[in-house]
């Protein structure tokens, strides 16, 4: 059984990537190891078979430049695939703003309903047709003045019918 390191070295030897010392070591191993020779033969046949399928097209630019273009496209696709990066900063708050806005409106309506007003709503049923109402907004005072009991009905020497 050939170990993985030897497999890599055989491939490198086939591609001419080994140093002279390493190449000599591999040659020695091939001389005594039939399994290594068989693997090298198989790799050589595979390389030859694949070489027949290559159309020999050459890039108009260097390999590094060509790869850099591919890399940029990959990064561009990755960034456009992320929806959060394309959305504005406040978009994430929208799901909060709707319920919070609703709660704020309800709270405002509640406060308006429960808050004592500066000008109190009032209605009066007056049995006295001569009565009138005066409102002092600054002093927050409402005066309802009644004609009862009319002064002329009660002589000065008779206080029996007054309210006090």
């Amino acid at each position: 059984m050939i170990d993985y390191d030897l497999q890599l070295k055989l491939q490198a030897h086939l591609d001419g990537e080994l140093s002279p010392a390493e190449a000599r070591g591999i040659q020695a191993r091939l001389a005594r190891d039939p399994e290594a020779r068989a693997l090298l033969a198989e790799l050589t046949a595979t390389t030859a078979a694949l070489a027949d399928f290559e159309d020999g097209r050459r890039l108009p630019e260097s390999r590094e430049f060509f790869w850099s273009k591919i890399e940029r496209e990959i990064h561009r696709d990755a960034s456009s695939a992320s929806p959060s990066a394309a959305l504005p900063w406040w978009a994430g708050w929208r799901r909060w703003l709707v319920p919070i806005g609703t709660a704020a409106m309800v709270a405002l309506a509640g406060l308006m309903a429960t808050r004592p007003g500066l000008a109190p709503e009032a209605e009066a049923e007056l049995a006295d047709p001569g009565a009138f109402t005066y409102r002092d907004y600054t002093a927050r005072t409402t005066l309802v003045w009644l004609s009862y009991p009319a002064e002329k009905e009660f002589p000065a020497d008779d206080g029996s019918d007054t309210m006090d």
Binding site: A113, A124, T142, L146, F154, M163
Partner: protein
């Protein structure tokens, strides 16, 4: 991601619902709350002293309010002073003098319905918001160019 957003949105709506429930409960509590009121029967005159020694001058805050009103009198004396607690359960009737009675009912949210009776006869019924600091004055002329006033203010 969608599930997480859904959970967050649900939590936000839950908070909204709790706020609504809290406000509703607060409003109900406010509607059921009792109001402590002070009612004073006051005699208004230009005399510096009341012929009745039991009459005391009105408190400074009431005096200030009365002086701000377009009334011709300069001195005000307390004939009677009553404290009452009113609620939405039912009206509270109180005699301010032998002939003067008031009936007050809390209709909710700090609003009171005040009915004034003179010699048992209804004179006026008024519904008015009465928050702290608000004063309702009912009045009329009295003999000798004087006047009577019923001043109602909220204590609590």
């Amino acid at each position: 991601m969608r599930l997480r957003m859904s959970v967050e949105a649900s939590a936000a709506w839950l908070v909204c619902a709790l706020v609504c429930i809290g406000l509703g409960e607060g409003k109900l509590q406010a509607a059921d709350a009792k109001l402590k009121l002070e009612a004073q029967l006051i005699w208004a005159t230009t005399d510096h002293q009341s012929p009745d020694p039991s009459h005391k001058p009105v408190d400074a805050d009431i005096l200030k309010k009365l002086q701000d009103l377009p009334l011709k009198w300069t001195n005000y004396f307390v004939v009677n002073r009553k404290i009452m607690e009113v609620s939405t359960v039912g009206p509270v009737k109180m005699a301010m003098s032998e002939k003067c009675e008031i009936e007050v009912r809390h209709v909710g949210n700090g609003t009171v319905e005040v009915a004034l009776f003179g010699k048992r006869e209804p004179l006026v019924k008024r519904t008015q918001s009465l928050p702290k600091g608000e004063t309702l004055v009912l009045g009329g002329n009295a003999p000798n160019a004087t006047a009577w006033l019923v001043v109602l203010k909220r204590l609590e």
